[in-house]
């Protein structure tokens, strides 16, 4: 009988401890999941060229670029942006092509919406994997194909 009472008291104390632990941990975990995390992206602008192959700065994207309509590509510019989920960032495209609106959701999926100079949508592209290489035949600089790449910066 005493043993049963001992076990019962131990069990009750443990249940109380678990209850307290869950009460403390669950809101914290829920907050952690709901807090949006800003992510830094590299926005890489590339333009096809007549010769020269793929520049060293674009070697990482070579296998994508070669499928995008040319074997010769050069780096036009590279900028970083840090969208916060719920707060999109706007990036101007080179050559007065328009702009790209980059947004991020809580799961880390990025959406790139490209608008031309007149504000007309040229498509919305959504991906959870990076680099996201977007080659739109409507986007050309001096008649050469333009490709926008959204990538995560190298981990230092």
């Amino acid at each position: 009988m005493k043993t049963c009472l001992l076990y019962a008291s131990v069990l009750l104390s443990v249940i109380a401890m678990v209850d307290l632990a869950v009460a403390d941990v669950a809101p914290a975990a829920a907050m952690t999941r709901s807090i949006p995390v800003a992510t830094t992206f590299d926005v890489v602008h590339t333009v096809a060229t007549d010769a020269g192959g793929i520049s060293d700065k674009l070697k990482k994207y070579g296998k994508y670029l070669r499928r995008a309509g040319s074997d010769h590509w050069k780096l036009e510019s590279r900028k970083q942006t840090k969208p916060v989920p719920g707060t999109p960032k706007t990036v101007a495209l080179p050559g007065k092509l328009g702009k790209a609106i980059i947004s991020l959701d809580a799961k880390g999926v990025a959406t790139v919406k490209i608008l031309d100079n007149g504000g007309k949508s040229l498509g919305s592209y959504r991906s959870s994997r990076f680099p996201l290489v977007i080659a739109n035949q409507r986007l050309r600089i001096n008649g050469k194909p333009y490709v926008l790449i959204l990538d995560r910066p190298k981990k230092k």
Partner: protein, 162 residues
């Protein structure tokens, strides 16, 4: 009664006083004879000396001290009679503490695991891969190249007729 009879009676009563309480008449006789009879007083003094000598000799000193076996027998006898606690009973009482302590340790481990990992199942696979084009101008087509590897990216090609 003659003096011999009085002395014998006096001696019997003195020795009997060691075993029982004397009556008032007997006590009065002993007291009276102690005052009156010289022989009784001498015998009493001699008897007192004998007793004193016997006490000084301390006969208990000659008794051998008990051996450990004697003490063990005595202890066993007292335990059987219920005068001492039985050590076996104490051992049985201590046993329930062991599983209780083990259960407590296990439960504390569970609590710490919950505190560390939470209650959600962390073995759930990560979010599925997303690669899609949500909208395009009318007439445009698209191609999506995805090699399906986690470390790979995605190439999206939009073909335009415009």
């Amino acid at each position: 009664m003659t003096e011999d009879q009085d002395l014998r009676r006096f001696q019997e009563l003195v020795e009997a006083s060691a075993h029982r309480e004397l009556t008032e008449a007997e006590t009065a006789f002993v007291g009276r004879m102690g005052f009156r009879s010289e022989e009784c007083r001498q015998w009493l003094e001699a008897d007192a000396e004998t007793v004193t000598t016997a006490l000084e000799q301390d006969p208990l000193r000659e008794v051998a001290s008990p051996s450990p076996l004697d003490w063990a027998r005595l202890e066993t006898g007292l335990q059987r009679a219920g005068a001492l606690n039985n050590p076996k009973v104490q051992v049985r009482k201590s046993w329930p503490l062991l599983p209780a302590a083990a259960a407590l340790v296990l439960c504390i481990g569970v609590v710490y695991a919950i505190l560390r990992d939470g209650l959600s199942d962390n073995t759930v696979s990560p979010s599925p891969m997303v690669a899609e084009i949500l909208d395009l101008p009318d007439g445009d087509g698209s191609l999506i190249f995805d090699e399906g590897k986690d470390e790979d990216g995605v190439l999206m090609i939009v073909l335009s007729n415009g």
